[in-house]
Amino acid sequence: MIIRGRAWKFGDDVDTDAIIPARYLNTSDPAELAGHCLEDADPDFPKEVKPGEIIVAGKNFGCGSSREHAPLAIKAAGLGAVVAASFARIFYRNAFNIGLPIFESPEAAERIRKDDQIKIDPDHGRIYNLTLNEEYQATAIPSFMQELLAAGGLINYVRQKVKNGV
């Protein structure tokens, strides 16, 4: 499925406290978390973000806490994908596990500007900047993680395994 939307731009080392501050972690309700997504990094973001839009950030996106509330908040806010130069490892795992599409591309992270129109072909890891008429390649997704995505996330994958008695 093609992902298409306007870009929001963030810098390097966007941490999980910025994505969802701990003061809101007394709930795990995705809708409630979405209302505070990235508010300490950009107070306008949770108010103005529209479904299908795309976060583009620098290196080490999602560093810090293991809180799955961070990718949950992004997903529940309706974001179509996150593109970053690199991802912190727990965030990377969590995103795959809950089915939030993420793409690692230092080139896209550098070139894409706020409000550029972006199109992503997840199957081939191609990122198109329709505003600048440019194309970037995302790092290949390991085959096991593609299996996870195809199964619809880790829980569905495990449920299938349990059912088959593996």
Partner: protein, 421 residues
Amino acid sequence: MGMTITEKILAAHAGRNEVQPGELINARIDLALANDITAPVAIREFNRIGVEQVFDRNRIALVPDHFTPNKDIKSAEQARTMREFARRFGITHYFEVGRMGIEHCLLPQEGLVLPGDLVIGADSHTCTYGALGAFATGVGSTDLAAAMATGEVWLRVPETIKVIINGTNWNKWVGGKDLILYLIGKIGVDGALYKAIEFTGETISALSMDGRLTMANMAIEAGAKNGIFAPDEKTRAYLERRARRPYKFYSSDEEACYCEVYEFDLGDIEPQVAFPHLPENTRPLSEVGTVSIDQAVIGSCTNGRIEDLRAAAQVLRGRKVNSNVRLIIIPGTQEIYLQALTEGLIEVFIEAGAAVSTPTCGPCLGGHMGILAKGEKAVSTTNRNFVGRMGHPESEIYLSNPAVAAASAILGRLAGPEEVK
């Protein structure tokens, strides 16, 4: 081919003779951990899997430590969700308020994590247990849910960075916190992204278990998957009255491969302070300038152990906290609290004008028990100084060791123990 300690532990848990960096493996876990914030999400996901039981009720630890004692009604509901799950499945290692501690202080103390173990926890500071020669790493709630059902986790075998610290010429006030802050200052908050960090060298051999736990704890602040120490006689002594099952010491082969090697000299390392808003923004204490503070926090999974409290008490004994400062001291576990009481440290703290709290993560993550107002500054022995971490997005956190935090509390500005008269 030689293997690192991390590779050996992963191979053993994957039922393999050998693994190589970059491989994806399915590994058996020895312990899975969650807390009152991450467990509710994990339980929700666990219930979707459709299994009748957890994989082993003796190999799951559930610790209500983040927003406990319950800070508000919603937190109370989350704590209850975890408590009810623990009761339903007869989870042996559920620790109620009054008998608990901050998870990463508590689990080693209780002998629940041992050398050679593979431990995952739905908390990023799970890497703390590398201090004991275990492979331990943080995961999210969904990973934890799958592990509670199957007893397994998928992992990518990480490359290992070797960090050698040479020398035994300790600056009197330098400890594990300063060594790890110094390293993060050198390699950055993503300097070890996806990788293992193996700590070694004469300095490391001389470091106490509490100091090692502090260092391993902050491996994640360099982006690492795990931080690990080869276990030795200090490890064995620490485990003597704690371990209740057999354990195994692993060490790296001489011909093991490292993706990078960093070598530092202890003589170059003075107490460190990490300035806002990243742990990599470190400065040696002698270069911090004049920064006035409103609050000091001594505690957390990084520095809430008995040695940390002793260092703070050494500085605070017979002195008073500055009238402009709130000093909050949080022993990491009930056992540490009681030990501090027995040693007279709590008396020193209260005489000095500090608030002493029951164990909780509380202020470290801006939960409760010491939230900062707009524009306020805190020196803290915790592990993260991100924007808004301890309260208002326009507050500031300076990370330090316990002695520096105590001295700063007395003087009302960032200061070293030597400056306290």
